[in-house]
């Protein structure tokens, strides 16, 4: 398959899979800020509105355009499951290799 064909197939499948979301999440009206259940009113760990520290005093939208470096260590959080899985996979690989080597060694001694 050529690169362009693959890219087109990928884009189409992305849209098809993404549109499954319409079925999975159910239909709804346009989301309004402050509506119960909307992401806009869920509090963060500190009890403040999550990511709404960028709102002005009258509630107007002012997007934060700078990074909050104090929250940078939080980037490690999604890497934690990776580390756990990686340790597991590496461990399994090591055991498998050791078994394989042992089997090969026993085979070579029996042939002698």
């Amino acid at each position: 398959m050529t690169r362009s064909r693959f890219a087109v197939a990928l884009a189409v499948s992305f849209l098809l899979i993404g549109s499954l979301g319409f079925v999975l999440k159910g239909n709804g009206k346009p989301e309004r800020r402050g509506e119960p259940g909307s992401a806009a009113v869920q509090p963060n760990d500190n009890g403040r509105r999550r990511d709404r520290d960028d709102d002005g005093p009258r509630g107007e939208r002012r997007a934060r355009t700078s990074f909050d470096f104090s929250a940078a260590p939080g980037m490690v959080e999604p890497l934690a499951p990776m580390a756990v899985f990686a340790v597991g996979v590496v461990g399994i690989d090591q055991v498998r290799q050791r078994r394989k080597r042992r089997r090969l060694r026993s085979l070579s001694t029996s042939q002698r």
């Binding site: 398959m1 690169r3 693959f6 890219a7 990928l10 884009a11 499948s13 992305f14 849209l15 899979i17 993404g18 549109s19 499954l20 979301g21 999975l24 999440k25 159910g26 239909n27 709804g28 009206k29 346009p30 989301e31 509506e35 259940g37 909307s38 992401a39 963060n44 999550r50 990511d51 960028d54 939208r61 997007a63 934060r64 355009t65 700078s66 990074f67 909050d68 470096f69 929250a71 940078a72 939080g74 980037m75 490690v76 959080e77 999604p78 890497l79 499951p81 990776m82 756990v84 899985f85 990686a86 597991g88 996979v89 590496v90 690989d93």
Partner: protein
């Protein structure tokens, strides 16, 4: 470099407190493009493994294929719902788009779930990642050696 930056980009995008809403959305768009490039670059693996799926289903390669497919499905759902739930992208691009109800919550659920196959995907590719890192290190080392002052 692309694959490592993908991992770093994923970690950054998921940390919304670090990026803020607007950058979170733009990082997501960047991730979507980078993921597309990543999959297209590995298209030969994808098509070869899909062709020989029945034979490899019980092997590690088959398991990896299943992990990758679930990762692709979940990541597609996450990114698609993220675009539809975006509050700033429409305005930044000059499109009068308003986020639809339900997509924000769905996006968050998918983004939590996607961390599992991402972790498995990286973990299952550790040999490839390690060999690429070593190869890159080897390539950089002689280049540094050559760049030093030449003594006559």
């Amino acid at each position: 470099v692309l694959d490592l930056s993908l991992l770093a980009g994923f970690a950054t995008t998921t940390n919304k407190r670090f990026t803020g809403d607007r950058w979170h959305e733009w990082f997501g768009v960047g991730l979507l493009i980078a993921l597309g490039i990543h999959i297209v670059r590995h298209r030969q693996w994808v098509s070869a493994q899909t062709r020989h799926l029945a034979r490899n289903l019980r092997t590690r390669v088959g398991f990896k294929w299943l992990v990758n497919v679930s990762l692709y499905v979940l990541m597609s759902l996450t990114l698609f719902s993220g675009v539809l739930a975006s509050e700033y992208l429409g305005g930044d691009l000059g499109i009068g788009y308003k986020p639809q109800q339900g997509w924000g919550g769905f996006h968050e659920q998918c983004s939590e779930l996607v961390k599992i196959p991402v972790g498995l995907h990286v973990a299952l590719s550790w040999r490839w990642i390690w060999s690429m890192l070593r190869r890159t290190g080897r390539r950089i080392a002689p280049a540094r050696g050559n760049a030093g002052p030449v003594s006559a």
